[in-house]
């Protein structure tokens, strides 16, 4: 089958089950949201997909191919790109360089052509640059192109990280709390960006998110987990009306 499949995956840290027999699948072209209380294992799921952790049981497949044998730097070659909860940018490089680093999967290692900067190398560099510029325009980052990432405001850094994942031309984008730390105004923008990512770029989005307004606006499918286990899934409104989710996560207050 197509899309991303998590099949009965478990992982424990020192006896504590962080993820416990979790299964779900993501339809291509959809926006899939994972919600759940803090420490429910949401980021761990991303880390499992990206092979930072090795599951103790179960399989993760993308477009029918198992990822279990892949090394963590090979995951992106399957078309899976991600952002991080606490922003992991290349702080001392410019925004543009960050995006160009995002193009790393689209290049071959050619020591001689690199060190002597041949014409074909130049053409390659220009192609990367054009792609980076496309994404810069797509996310309205023009003004910051040559700024050092460490000097950028938080909201822009957040967008930069998204841009860096997008220049790698992924098939599926994992967003770890895209709205955390943003104001409601910026969160609204994020909603439009996510819709554009899906519609204009045709990228499947899997996100972890707390802001229920954003979740309601963009998700096709919502999965709620708690303590590493499945809690509920369905449309955003179905999941929110689920009594288990209310008790463990929303605390009765309709968001």
């Amino acid at each position: 089958m197509n899309g991303l499949e998590i099949d009965n995956v478990s992982l424990s840290f020192g006896g504590l089950k962080a993820v416990d027999g979790l299964s779900f699948s993501v339809e291509p072209g959809s926006v899939f949201t994972i919600i759940g209380p803090n420490g429910a294992g949401k980021s761990t799921v991303f880390n499992l997909i990206c092979r930072i952790y090795d599951p103790s049981q179960g399989d993760i497949r993308f477009n029918g191919k198992s990822l279990r044998k892949a090394k963590s730097h090979e995951v992106i070659n399957h078309g899976i790109a991600r952002t991080f909860q606490n922003i992991e940018l290349f702080e001392h490089a410019s925004l543009l360089d960050n995006l160009l680093i995002g193009r790393i999967r689209h290049g071959k290692f050619g020591p001689l052509s690199e060190l002597f900067f041949t014409r074909s190398q130049m053409r390659q560099e220009l192609a990367h640059r054009r792609k980076a510029e496309e994404i810069i325009e797509f996310l309205d980052l023009e003004g910051y192109r040559h700024a050092r990432v460490a000097d950028l405001p938080y909201g822009v850094r957040k967008k930069t990280e998204m841009a860096r994942a997008l220049v790698s031309e992924p098939k599926i984008l994992l967003l770890d709390e895209p709205s955390s730390g943003l104001t409601s105004e910026e969160t609204d923008d994020t909603a439009f960006v996510i819709e554009d990512i899906r519609e204009v770029l045709g990228v499947t989005v899997v996100m972890i998110e707390h802001d229920m307004k954003l979740v309601n606006k963009v998700s096709d499918m919502v999965l709620a987990i708690n303590e590493g286990r499945f809690l509920a899934s369905g449309s955003a409104s179905e999941v929110q009306s689920d009594p288990d989710v209310q008790a463990a996560y929303l605390g009765g207050q309709a968001a």
Partner: protein, 359 residues
Amino acid sequence: MRVIFRKSYVQDIQLFRDRGQAFWYLLFAAIALAAPLFLDGYFLDELSFVFIYAIAGLGLMVLTGFSGQVSFGQAAFVAIGAYTHTILLTRYSVPWLLSLPIAALVAGLVGLAVGRICGKMHGLYLAIATLSIAIVTERLIGGAGDFTGGHRGLSVPEINILGLAIDESWKVYLLNFVIFVGCILIVRNLTRTRSGRAMIAIRDSEVSARALGTNVAFFKAYAFFISAVFAGLAGGLLAHAFFYITPETFGMGESIRLLLMIVVGGIGTIHGAVFGAFFIVLLPTVLSWVKIVLPSAVATSGGFDSLAFGLILLGFILFEPDGLYGRWTKIHHYFNVFPMYKKRSFQRQKTFLKTERLR
């Protein structure tokens, strides 16, 4: 203040930022090429040393400045280069033009192996591991007996390229200069292509470098390889400059000196390696001038040179952590914006320590 108008993407990846910059660099190159006309042998020899150290420094810059791997063992690769080159020349009569690249490559391969082994180490662990490589290399060369000349050392023949004897200071100077420029171009090319970016990615965040498809172990080893090739090249040239090499020439102290050199120059920039080389080579000369005006009790005491070296370094780290190149850009900036210079734009703030034990 000069503003760069960018009209095409090519502009950002060109060798020079704009015409003005190209003009200045070409002018410098021209002056350097013409230097034998107006400098005497002593200064040409000194400048030769500057170029050679700058080559070794460029290598270390790739390793430490770009890929973020601190190495206290660069002199080991310089030694391997120097010894391979000398032994090939004297024992196997390999032509100079072949011997030097082989020496660089041998050093590079050893570097590759070290990089592969040390790939998982970080910060202090890597620093001490590489330091021990420097110590072990020195001992191994010293202990290898006749093959390397042991602790007695080896004498190095004159440079001879295809029958052309490079026997005078100005010839050696020009040869070193050409190789030096070549090395700069290579490092510059590295910075504007994929591998260079991969190294910077590893330096700043290994996790996301991996997530974006960087084979971290590979590029760490590659950085070691390039750095060792440069060191080996510098070693080959240095052997000629010294005429006679012993294992002690390339001990732990030399490794540390090389590292200090790129710090004084300004870490992470090509300029830094060059500035640092100027500093480290010319410092003793400058100090010998200073000594003339100092009371003889101070000047003749044995520790004066190293005390001065230590104190200058301390001063740099405390007051100008960006090194000579950093100071230079600030002065440059001052004149560029002349009446509007604000001290504020480079003001340092209270900073606080955060643990690096989590990675």
